[in-house]
Structures are given as structure tokens and as C-alpha cells.
Amino acid sequence: MAAASSSARPGGFSLLGLLKTNGRAQVGLGILGLFLGVALVGPLFVEDAGAYVAIPYLEPSWAHLFGTTGQGQDVLAQTIVGTRASLFNGLIVGLLVVMVGAAVGVTAGYFGGLVDDALSLAVNVLLVVPSLPLAIVIAAYLPPGPFTVGLVLVGTGWAWNARVLRVQTLSLRERDYVLAARVSGEPHWRIIFVEMLPNMGPILLTQLVGATTYAIGAQVGLEFLGLGDVGSVTWGSNLYWASNDQALLTGAWWTFVPTGTCIALVGFALSLLNTSVDEATNPALRVERSWRVYLKRLGVQPGMVTPVVPR
């Protein structure tokens, strides 16, 4: 819960500064940028990812760099087109998850009392009920497609964000500037949206990154089970078809390796970004890091005892 440290200085944080100094952020943003680029312009170079282009299960070759699927589709084309759908759906769902979580968490923390009790109970219940089976059951009752998947993921995924933001609100609520705003008669919505939320910027950012990671993974999972639109090309449906067409038993590793690697790279990049935002906004982590770097430069092995170093 180090990220919820109340002493985080929102003013001292900028994305640009992060990019300049933090190697992890550079790598993370670099990978993400690459995938966003592929998602934006990649599909323009692909004619029809669902089209039959060559005999099924062709190994990777110059004609088809990533080989062909069990239905004779080009794996590279499918991966590229899938990137667009999965990345953007993931971002949208991630954003909605954070928004719902923020609405509930901030309301609970700000108003306190009975409102807090009721909302916290709801949040805790939702946290303890296993979300994947719940999502599967709800999705099974709705018409399959990206909208259903998104709705289900937002509905089952916001509780964790609400819990973190509630704690954050509790600590902000008693700050002088919030009390001052309240005394001067500002309406509740103004205090929440103008005074408090902007001060949660870094936490909201890490939450957005985390929620997007969750959204992409869970989305792929549900689609893999066939609860999405299996006719459309997404990362999840690529894996669904790879599994459905018995790719494993025919040795066609190229039908699932590219998509899985993309998912992992994006997830890895997002988690790099998250740690670096954490590091930049949490003074304790920042101090520890710079201290480590400093000691390393002096060739001192950090241990149990605080080393004495020349100034």
C-alpha cells in the first residue's frame, strides 16, 4: 500500500520528467508506443485478416511471415488487426473501470457515515466473490460481443479501485484546504471534482494503467472462452480459434505464440510504467532508489548497517 502514501506531492510529478530520468518508463512507454502505432496504422496495410490466403497451417515463411492459421488466414495480419481491437477495448474498459471505482470510492470516503458503510460493504463483497466465474455467468446470458465483454468487465472489475481511492479520499478529506473549501460553503461536487480529484492525479494514473492491464487480460480470457464475438479478429478470438482448431495437437505453435507475446509485451510495458510512476510519486521509493544508485557509484555494498559516505 506504499502507493497510497499521503505525502505524495502531486506538483512534483510530470510525465515528461519521468520519461527523461527513468529507464523503466522509457522502455515501457517505448513498447506501448510501438503497439499504439501498430494499432493505429497497422490495419491500413492489411487487406482482410479473415480472408483465406493460403493452405492452413503453413509454417512461417517469407510469403507469410508468421505462417497461416488452421483456416488458412495470415497470422501476421490477424495479430495486427487484433492489436487494434484489443488495445482500444482494453483502454476504454480500463478508463471506465477507474471512473466507476473513483465515483464509488470518493463518494464513500467523502461522505463517510452510513453512505461509507453501505458502499464499503458492497465493495468488499464484490472483492471476495470470484470475478471470472461471475463475469462468465453474466456474459453467457447476454448476446456475445465486445459490448457484453466490456460491460461485464466494468461491472466486475471496479471494486479494487474503489477501495484504494476511498482510503485516499479519507486522508485528503481532513486536509486544511478541503476543510477551508467546506467552511467557505463550496458545494460537495466542487470540493470533490475541483479540490480533491486533481490531487489524486498520480494515483488515478497508476490505477488507469493497472485497470487497463486487467481489462486486456480479462478480455482476452473471456474471448478465449468464446464469450466475445468469435467472428471478429481480436487477440482473444485469435487464441480461441487456435485452441478450437487444435493448433497444439498439430504442432502449429505460430498460431498462438505471436498473439500471446503481444499480450505479454503490452502487459509488461504497462507494469513497467506503473512501477516507474509509483517511484516518481512516492518519495520513499524515490529516495531509496537514488540512494541505491549513489551507493553503487561509490562501490559500497548496501547491507544491514547504514554506510557512512563522503559528502
Binding site: V128, P130, L132, P133, Y141, L248, M304
Partner: protein
């Protein structure tokens, strides 16, 4: 005791929520989806199966409140309805066949992953900047970024298809009869090894990093300095003094992540065609067997709630503070 009772009441409430949601879900379906679905099955199913379906999706007669009372009464009697795809097998019977396999795989994976990850975390936290601390975390973080089921596909491809070390699917060999003999248990172990390994590999990083940061927080404390001054051995200091005190956050997150680990292992089962709850769930989704789907959801939820309660009891044993707090 008061703390435990409060937690138990909370789990009761969560169970009630799940049960009620399970009741409302089919009845809240948009438009006349229930009727449409019903019409789709007409002619494909026997009248008895149709009747079971009618009861499950709630186009039974009577007001909602009465249906609810009947639903609760049936649940209390262990009556989850009747499976549609395996008519006329009761849902409970179908679900029961999967429960053992899932408990075997998810349970073993959870315990192995937790113990191994925590131990690695203690070592990594104790020797910060050491080999273990600088090599494993990024590697595990990268592996953890893959979806469980994709790792399962990759491992199955390598170990099952390419190298043929382990069987490709199912919980035991075709033709083997379930019995308490060495050969059968060995057969089951061979089939369960790769699914368990998959989940362990996917979750190891989380446990390790959680334990490592808890260790770091404990390392600066005075009782460790005292222990060192007393001349206690490093092993004793690291494991008994630092490790034990740093364990609590990880045990707490054990409860939190149960549902998550279970979710991942459900997807993993699908890849291995392993006949646990996850595989049953997917089959139920594909054959639109709603009674089974709902029975599985209730069963999985109850399993997670019970496991959470066990973790709570464990926590009070490990940390005396939770016991004294309410006094």
C-alpha cells in the same frame, strides 16, 4: 473471537449476495431473451428437460417473491436443478465431479506457489541486490504478464507435444479406473503436474515480490538489530525473526488473490481439457446449460468464501495483534 465472528457474518452476507444474484440474473435478462432462448430449445429437448430449463431461467409460474422462496428452499436442500446438456443428471452431481479435480490443481498450485514464492521473497529481501534479487523478479514479472491459459498452451506444446514428457489432456489415462492404487495415483499426478506447474509459474512472481517488500520493511526494525547483537545465526534471523514478521501481508493477500488464482486455473483447465470446474463451465457455456453454469458459479463462490474464512483463522494464529485488537 469477535473479529472472526464479524468476518464469518461478512462471508455469510457475500454468500447471500451471490445466491441472490444467481436467482435474479436469468430473471433480469434484457427483453424477452429468456423466452427466445426457450423457443430455441423447443423441439430439441424432452419435455422434462424443458421444464428444468423453465425453472432455471425463471419463467416458472408465480410471483418473483414466491419463486425466490422456492429457490432458496431448493438450495438449502442441495437441489441446484437439473442439467440440460446431461439430462436428467442433477446439477449438483455434475458439479461434484469437477470439484475434486479443481481443488487438486488450484489448491496444490496455490500452496506450492505461496510457499515457494514466499521463501524466495525472504531470500531476495534478505540479500537485496544479490543474484536472486536481480535476476528473478524481472523474469517472473515478464512471465506473469502472459495470460495463464497462454502459458498453459505454450507449456503444453513444449512438454506435451514436442518432448512428450507429460500427457496431453484429461485427469487420468483413458481406460484407467479410479481407485486408491499406486499406479492410478501416479497416473493422476502425471496428468496434474503440468497444470499445477503452469499456475505456480504464473503466480510465483506476485508472492515473491509481496514477500520481498514486506521483508524490506521489517529489516530496519530494532528487534532484528537486537537479535544480531545477541549473536543469533543469520538463518535464524532471516527466517524466524524477519520472515515470520513479514509474513502477514502475504497471508492477507492470500485471501484476496484466491479468487484470482482460481480464475486463472479455471482457464488453465480448459487448455488441458482437465475435467475440473473450469472445463465444466466452458462446456456449460458452449452448450448453453444455464443450470450447470449457475450451479458452478455458486459452488466456486462458496469454495472461495470458505477458503477466505480459513485464511482469516490462519491470520489470527500468525499475528497476535489481530487477536488483541478487539479486546
Amino acid at each position: 473471537m469477535k473479529f472472526l465472528l464479524k468476518r464469518l457474518a461478512f462471508y455469510g452476507l457475500a454468500a447471500f449476495f451471490a445466491v441472490t444474484l444467481n436467482f435474479l440474473l436469468p430473471r433480469l435478462m434484457p427483453g424477452d431473451a429468456a423466452g427466445a432462448m426457450f423457443a430455441r430449445f423447443q423441439g430439441r429437448l424432452s419435455p422434462e428437460a424443458l421444464d428444468a430449463l423453465r425453472r432455471a431461467i425463471g419463467i416458472a409460474d408465480g410471483p418473483l417473491s414466491l419463486q425466490y422462496v422456492h429457490y432458496l428452499r431448493d438450495l438449502l436442500h442441495g437441489d441446484f436443478g437439473i442439467s440440460i446438456s446431461q439430462f436428467p443428471a442433477p446439477v449438483l452431481e455434475v458439479v461434484w465431479t469437477g470439484l475434486g479435480w479443481t481443488v487438486l490443481v488450484a489448491g496444490s498450485a496455490l500452496i506450492i506457489g505461496f510457499v515457494l514464492g514466499t521463501a524466495l521473497g525472504i531470500v531476495a529481501g534478505w540479500r537485496r541486490g544479490g543474484v536472486l534479487d536481480s535476476v528473478l523478479p524481472p523474469a517472473l514479472a515478464f512471465i506473469g504478464a502472459f495470460p495463464y491459459f497462454w502459458l498453459a498452451m505454450g507449456l503444453l506444446f513444449l512438454f506435451g507435444f514436442e518432448w512428450r514428457w507429460v500427457p496431453l489432456r484429461h485427469a487420468y489415462s483413458d481406460g484407467a479406473t479410479p481407485e486408491w492404487s499406486f499406479t492410478f495415483i501416479a497416473d493422476v499426478a502425471r496428468h496434474a503436474a503440468l497444470p499445477i506447474f503452469t499456475v505456480v509459474v504464473a503466480t510465483l512472481g506476485g508472492w515473491m515480490m509481496g514477500m520481498r517488500s514486506a521483508m524490506v520493511a521489517v529489516l530496519g526494525t530494532e528487534y532484528l538489530a537486537l537479535g544480531r547483537a545477541k549473536g543469533l545465526s543469520t538463518v535464524r534471523l532471516a527466517w524466524r525473526y524477519a520472515g515470520r514478521n513479514a509474513l502477514l501481508p502475504n497471508v492477507t493477500s492470500l485471501g484476496m488473490s484466491l479468487g484470482f488464482v482460481l480464475g486463472g486455473s479455471l482457464l488453465t483447465e480448459v487448455v488441458f481439457s482437465y475435467p475440473g470446474l473450469g472445463f465444466l463451465m466452458v462446456q456449460a457455456v458452449r452448450s448453453q446449460d444455464f443450470p450447470v453454469m449457475q450451479g458452478l458459479f455458486i459452488m466456486i463462490t462458496f469454495a472461495v468464501l470458505i477458503a477466505n474464512a480459513v485464511v482469516d483463522v490462519l491470520t489470527t494464529f500468525i499475528d497476535p495483534r489481530t487477536r488483541s485488537r478487539e479486546a
